[in-house]
Symmetry: C2
Subunit: 478 residues, 2 copies
């Protein structure tokens, strides 16, 4: 089946296809902004063809999202459980600082609602089962903050569908279009509406010198076009200067005097983003305000690798969600790979032993979002030896997933690079939780994303410069 892929295309047709893709990207906002040259954009790297992906795995991942959203709601509903787990990361200053803001703000909270735009990432695992039906998707991580590429994923899947239908690329199969742009905007609009003040505005928290601006702007335009909701963008530093707390704990955007309904974080997940005390002050002001946080600090914290690891321990899901059926639990559990703490518990000691004895099977992960922080295979031993033993417990050891290698061509900076690639499917979810009523007001699957990288760069995570956006090609069933 897979032997048919990628289609063999003569060079002149490849040139034409490349030119079509570049034009499509530039016309539809699939560009990164050049922050040095205002008004200058470069196409986001993409594959030349959509990459075949297990139909069963794709379907499975899509279906799982609402279960995962609920599982994380169950975690969220037990802050004492989260705090207990995270207190084991006491050498991790960043997590501790977030926890302390959480605790400060929970005393003065006036807002029961908290929102989330999540993304659960999967890789197909080929080692444990054989054949299409037997292939399992395994969860890489569950993201609860600053989830990106929802908008661009919609665009790139539209591009590949368009090319498959018009460009005679001999790509045979189904290319589903991700509705993530529409659905994430809908999720944010639902939060805005639940806030209950139509003329309020959304605040996008952004990083300075962000280049992935269009992925955010597309949401902003969709929110305005479909719902009439106005958004503003500000960095933590700007938020410190430009927001204030008004009457009834309302968050106010000073330049226009507008009330802010939802604070949507596309930043704030990495320690380096809090360079000054003002940045932390800004975060605490947002967290303590009446505006709906998307996500709140607690929601951000449940996305740590530590929580991901704890959830794989036998009995934990059952304890958090006693109402789940065995089938549902099994569906979730099937996506787990082995995860170990490196602390002084029995499981932690087992993890330490595995890390030192067979590092080639593992990846070592700190409690960080955003990529580029992981340590792979033999580097794990070196790394653990270099950091003090007291810091080991801030990490989680994770079994490596063995994905099928497929050939494709990546278009980057006008160049075509053909080779074996590895793909990661992310499924988006939108939630709105009421802490007082202790219930889910919204729980939706919200489209998907396929990111593909060359096999080599797999060793370095989604290092800048190797990954690209892609679309799922569901081959016809045999």
């Amino acid at each position: 089946m897979l032997l048919k892929f990628p289609p063999s295309v003569p060079d002149n047709q490849k040139r034409d296809l490349t030119s079509q893709i570049l034009d499509w990207c530039l016309t539809n906002g699939v560009v990164f902004e050049n922050s040095d040259k205002p008004g200058n954009g470069l196409n986001v790297p993409v594959t030349l063809f959509p990459t075949p992906f297990s139909r069963h795995g794709y379907k499975n991942a899509i279906e799982l999202q609402v279960l995962y959203n609920s599982l994380y709601h169950a975690v969220f509903k037990h802050p004492e459980f989260v705090i207990e787990q995270l207190s084991q990361l006491k050498e991790d200053e960043f997590t501790m600082k977030l926890l302390s803001i959480y605790e400060n703000c929970s005393k003065r909270r006036t807002q029961n609602l908290t929102g989330g735009v999540f993304r659960s990432d999967y890789i197909v695992d080929k080692s444990r089962n054989s054949g299409e039906e037997g292939r399992q998707i395994k969860q890489v991580e569950f993201n609860t903050v600053s989830v990106s590429f929802g908008a661009l994923s919609s665009k790139v899947t539209e591009l590949h569908k368009f090319l498959a239908e018009t460009a005679k690329t001999s790509v045979h199969g189904e290319v589903p279009v991700s509705k993530s742009l529409r659905d994430i905007a809908k999720g944010l609009a639902t939060m805005h509406s639940a806030y209950g003040c139509q003329q309020a505005i959304l605040l996008f928290v952004t990083q300075p010198n962000e280049t992935n601006v269009m992925d955010q702007r597309l949401l902003e335009y969709e929110l305005y076009r479909e719902y009439g909701i106005i958004s503003v963008r500000a960095t933590l530093e700007q938020i410190h200067r430009k927001t204030t707390i008004g009457e009834q704990n309302r968050l106010i955007f000073i330049p226009t005097g507008a009330e802010i309904s939802v604070v949507y974080y596309r930043a704030g997940y990495a320690p380096h983003e809090y360079a000054t005390a003002a940045d932390w002050t800004a975060r605490e002001r947002l967290e303590g305000s009446h505006a709906i946080q998307c996500p709140s600090i607690m929601t951000q914290l449940i996305g740590t690798k530590k929580i991901q690891q704890v959830l794989t321990k036998p009995g934990v899901i059952e304890q958090l969600q006693p109402n789940l059926t065995n089938t549902e639990i099994e569906l979730i559990r099937k996506t787990f790979v082995g995860l170990w703490p490196l602390d002084e518990t029995d499981l932690g000691k087992e993890g330490q032993k595995l890390a030192m004895q067979s590092p080639e099977k593992f990846v070592l992960k700190p409690q960080r979002e955003g990529g580029g922080n992981n340590i792979y295979k033999k580097d794990i031993v070196k790394h653990l030896e270099n950091i003090g033993h007291e810091n080991w417990s801030s990490y989680v050891l994770m079994e490596l997933i063995d994905p099928p290698k497929i050939s494709n061509t990546i278009l980057r900076n006008g160049d075509l690079v053909t080779g074996r690639v590895v793909s990661e499917l992310g499924v988006f979810g939108t939630v709105l939780w009421d802490t007082e009523a202790n219930k889910e007001l919204m729980n939706n699957q919200a489209g998907f994303l396929l990111r593909t990288k060359t096999q080599k760069s797999n060793e370095g995570g989604i290092a800048a410069g190797f990954g690209c956006l892609d679309a799922v090609l569901l081959l016809s069933s045999r």
Copy 2:
């Protein structure tokens, strides 16, 4: 009234507005392509604020389009009249070559239908009348071939409407959105449908190294999304290699074997585009084929300045369109400025005298589309003295229009330039004519375009590097 414009905006708000505009342009395809760097785009220059335009003039121009479409149909229906007029340009090799292809092909024509995407350009004239109501729009030219900016105009008007509604720019008034992208695509789809072969494709004739690609691609995507029509792009040189005439005089695109329903010209209007004999052969193949030409050579030729001049002669409209009412004739006539030939007729001798005696009141125009070919004011005398007297009759002398000067800021390459600007309103029209039945199958107004340039650059026509895209601001009535 106009004193309120442009709004005074503090520098930091101007920076924010600039950044919003640049992001919007990059997200929505309002970019020129950098043909040297694949995948690299730069925002199309735009104004910071929509420019006030006479409400009366705007309304008038929109309403006039179907009358103008019909007037040109009347001209088209009298090829002997057109040939007689154009034969006076015998020193104009390019026009003569087009005429000879027209004549060759009319013998073997199998297609009764011919299409058009037109644009009639106007400038508000302030010298002859005073006050808003008295202001007249005067026609600059009527374009029948390679009409551009229909797609980008829709986008830029959407941008300015979005900013007026969200960015608190203090722009008070109505910012109409041009439906030109939708309407021109609809016009092309109507031609395709009239051709009568759903699986046929559209051929966009393009220039090599075109940078204004997105304006064309947007139409291509709209045609596919709304009508399922596939388009291909090719230069005349590529058309020479990649097309052939199949059975029943059908035009065939060789790489895919597809039949071509409509040939849509976004090139082919300037002599330098026909660099080799192959380019002329390609044009003749298209013209003589069964594919609907948009425009055909005759339709291209009725867009010459010579025809524009002849139409202003008393009695000509009446002769061509005996059924027009006096009111309709008056509406059209009101948009005329003085136009003279420079030939040996009485009118031509009057033109010669005016050109030499008071050149500061005139612009001298050759039979060329595309800008950059006109000679202004005192340069006219020099120019006429330099070319042989036998070439004078290839030109038309046109009274200059005196537009109101308004202040605005143009954003180009990240820089803001504030100053007096002059705006030109273009109104799009789409037509489909049946030469056998001698009737109009389609006659629509199809949106509009506002182009604005700094007052200085007015002297040099729409020279590359000075004009920008804009939106109409209709100030509230007093």
